[in-house]
């Protein structure tokens, strides 16, 4: 039996029936937002988790997609044209930014992405003729694909779910394709990959572009949902938040970013109604999570379960005494969750 597949199916069924569990629109909208940020985090995960490079400027792609889509729609273009145009522009920008950022690695990479993000943010504030400055831009209406209105909470949720499921499927295919293997290889053993004849730079660049593209898709969902975009969507906070979601859930795993997005979105939107110091709570969650699961929640849970099975197996004498569990300070990461090894 293929357990991951089964788990995916169960999750999908749950997600499909979710709006019919008698919750109000508020919760359905909340789930739509979680899907949007989960997709956004999954896009970041491509470069952070599988590529092993920490980007602190990903809000730029979400924002550019949202802004350009709104600009096109308000200037008389159709929704489809606007969506495609926005995605093309975002991908193009990601290609250029990727070229610049991939000149460097490590902290310098982080810094270039941050700087590029801040430049885009500055433009949104300063280029008022194009962006309307901090007064932001409003999207007149959500699109109606094939004449289906997305104005209701439930219909929009299904739309977001459809896009999300397609995106995750594509990302999953990519990760398990030869290209995905090469990307992970470039992360773990860049020198060996080069010697084997792979163009490590090109692999990373393609991953960067793909990451920008999916962030653009998330940006489209974002603007469809919010119907309003302002420089806040491009801010450093937004970039940091999505990066934190990804790492919290477990970078380099498929479900990690989703878990991170669920937690952060719920704390920001729901827990903040009950806990006044919710910012500190969020910080505390990050710290505590990393203490117990240094590589994120999903890899942490996997490891715990393994440890538990091993203990159980040991208790009934199935494991020879030589197979000691790894020492606590040298955790054995889950196969998918290897982290950058650059010094």
């Amino acid at each position: 039996m293929n357990r991951p597949l089964l788990a995916c199916l169960i999750a999908l069924v749950l997600l499909v029936v979710l709006p019919h569990l008698g919750m109000g629109d508020y919760y359905i909208n909340l789930f739509s937002q979680i899907l949007i940020f989960a997709l956004f985090a999954a896009s970041v995960n491509l470069i952070v988790g599988y590529g092993g490079m920490i980007s602190l400027g990903h809000a730029a792609y979400l924002g550019i997609a949202a802004y350009s889509c709104t600009w096109l729609v308000t200037h008389g273009y159709g929704q489809l044209t606007a969506a495609l145009g926005a995605l093309m522009l975002t991908t193009l920008v990601a290609a250029v930014f990727g070229m610049l950022a991939l000149r460097a690695t490590g902290l310098s990479f982080l810094m270039i992405t941050l700087a590029l993000g801040q430049i885009v943010w500055g433009l949104a504030y300063r280029w008022v003729a194009l962006t309307n400055g901090d007064n932001g831009m409003a999207l007149p209406a959500r699109p109606a694909p094939f004449g289906i209105s997305l104005n209701g909470a439930t219909s929009f949720y299904y739309f977001a779910l459809l896009v999300f499921a397609c995106a995750i499927f594509c990302i999953w295919r990519m990760v398990h394709s030869p290209f995905g293997a090469a990307l992970k290889g470039a992360r773990d053993q860049p020198r060996r990959m080069s010697m084997l004849g792979h163009d490590v730079w090109m692999i990373r660049w393609l991953a960067f572009i793909l990451s920008g593209f999916w962030a653009g898709v998330a940006g489209l969902l974002f603007i469809y949902y919010q119907k309003f975009v302002s420089p806040y969507a491009l801010s450093l906070q937004q970039s940091a938040e999505v990066l934190l979601m990804t790492i919290l859930g477990g970078a380099g795993t498929l479900s990690g970013p989703v878990v991170g997005a669920v937690i952060v979105t719920l704390v920001k939107n729901v827990a903040s109604s009950y806990v006044e110091r919710w910012n500190a709570l969020l910080g505390l969650i990050f710290v505590v999570a990393v203490m117990f699961m240094p590589h994120g929640i999903v890899p942490g849970l996997v490891q715990w379960r393994r440890a538990a099975t091993r203990r159980k197996a040991k208790a009934v004498g199935l494991v020879p005494p030589t197979a000691e569990p790894p020492r606590a300070d040298t955790p054995r990461p889950a196969p998918d969750a290897k982290l950058e090894r650059s010094a």
Partner: protein
Amino acid sequence: MQFWLIQTLNSVAFGGLLFLLSSGFSLIFGLMRMPNLAHGAFFMLGAYFGASFLAWGINFWLAALLSGLAVGALGLIMERGLLRRLAGNGQGQVLVTLGISFIIADVCLMVWTGDPVPVPAPQGLRAPTFFIGYAFPTYRLVVLGVAILAAIALHVLMERTRLGAMIRAGVDDMEMARGVGIPVSRLFMLVFLLGAALAGLGGTIGGPIMSAYPGLDADMLPLALVVVILGGVGSLAGAFVGSFIVGFIYNFGTALFPDFAYVILFLPMVLVLVLMPQGLFAGAAR
């Protein structure tokens, strides 16, 4: 004439402030290869501590030292309690340091409310100094002096002391340092303490210029990163020169190209990094 004189003074004075901000970050990164993204929060905490110490009537310089110690102690706890377990786990370090900065920012908001808090300059340094008839804030010149003193002290520490020699060995080759019996773990602790303390000290000393306000952390962290990146990561000399370069770019850039004010720091930085990914002083750093 006035323009060039005052803006030059502005640039070097701001550069001094930036060195106080970024030297600690650079020190930590150089040895531990860890971006301490809580550095801006440390700086902010230093400014708030300074404001409170001064409000209790403590002498300014003593207040700065106390803030440095307090923030250093916090750094020590953080290193021992959290970061030590995350060696080599870059993503975990990002998560923890940003998480800590969230907590610090929220606690500051709780303790000092959201209103900006002034950090008064020492009494005798409040009146401006005159250069050929042009006024310039005396205190900023003092900050420049303090930054240069700090740079000299750090240089002596690194080049002339046993501790410095051990740190240099660790920066050069961690495995080798471990091999020859340098207590790397204790070294990490000391360096993190020193880096955090520098941020706290810088916070109080920068206080009369910056004031303490919510958001100071987020305003300062990118600046520290810009300096460190431009100067070449982990090199104190690079951080020193980088600070003044950023000071000049910022002051003359905003004055001469006001339309680019929003991107004035980041645009040149991207250019430099694209042309010289290792920073301006990669070759000269060691």
